[in-house]
Amino acid sequence: MMRIPSEVSYIRKISAEIESYLKANNIEDSAIFDIRLCAEEAVKNAILHGNGGKKDKAVFISYSLEGGRFTLEVEDEGNGFDPRMVPDPTAEDNLLKGSGRGVFLIHKLMDEVKYNSRGNRIFMVKLINKNNGGKANAGQAGR
């Protein structure tokens, strides 16, 4: 479990660490691109929306790769949100809006997405072997 302050400069540090871990496990570039994007979007949402950018609030990140499943959890210290209330950014009226695509992309690029009941923790799974042609070392776990 990693703990970072609510500062956007940490977003790339976290995703770079995950990228290195995936590369070390011979995961193909396409899956790494998707996982990096989802990790950055989730951490960004946790920092900016969950914790409201308050630097004294932390974001907790954990991930693992086991049996062809890459699992990523991101939790903030905010009050949570209802993901059903996020407007569909692909709706005609929303296409020109500046924000709202992060959560949508996570749902599209990950194979499983769940939230805790409070809505301050997101749990994501990317299946590596099934569709993505990766060569994950089963049983090897990250942080």
């Binding site: 790339r12 691109f33 994007l37 950055e40 979007e41 960004k44 500046g98 695509r101 992060g102 992309l105």
Partner: protein, 111 residues
């Protein structure tokens, strides 16, 4: 992240090199605010050297497009990688943006 600008027969071609994410999007926006502020009528953004874009980057491109629409400017995107283009497809932004495979096609259609 860098943006190189070339004038090709009255068409401004912008070559972005690097990643467009939450850290670099403000730079991209600043550069294009200046170009759009000059009311350039025809702009092509060449993505050949853009390896990554996130939702902040997509939002920045939407802002550029909105800015150009205020004066009737035309924007085309070219040379997107498969992964970057996929994000435009997933988010349906391909409906908003005119995307061509090659820069030459974009220039030809604006000429």
């Amino acid at each position: 992240m860098q943006v190189r600008q070339e004038d090709k027969n009255g068409i401004v071609v912008c070559y972005i090199t690097g990643e467009i994410d939450i850290n670099t999007s403000p730079q991209v926006k600043k550069i294009f605010d200046r170009i759009v502020g000059e009311k350039k009528e025809k702009i092509v953004i060449n993505f050949k050297n853009v390896s990554y874009i996130d939702s902040s980057g997509l939002a920045t491109l939407v802002e550029i497009l909105k800015g150009m629409r205020t004066y009737g400017g035309k924007l085309k995107l070219s040379n997107l990688s498969t992964k970057v283009k996929n994000l435009f497809e997933i988010t349906k932004l391909e409906k908003l943006f005119d995307i061509t495979q090659e820069e030459g096609d974009a220039i030809k259609s604006l000429s």
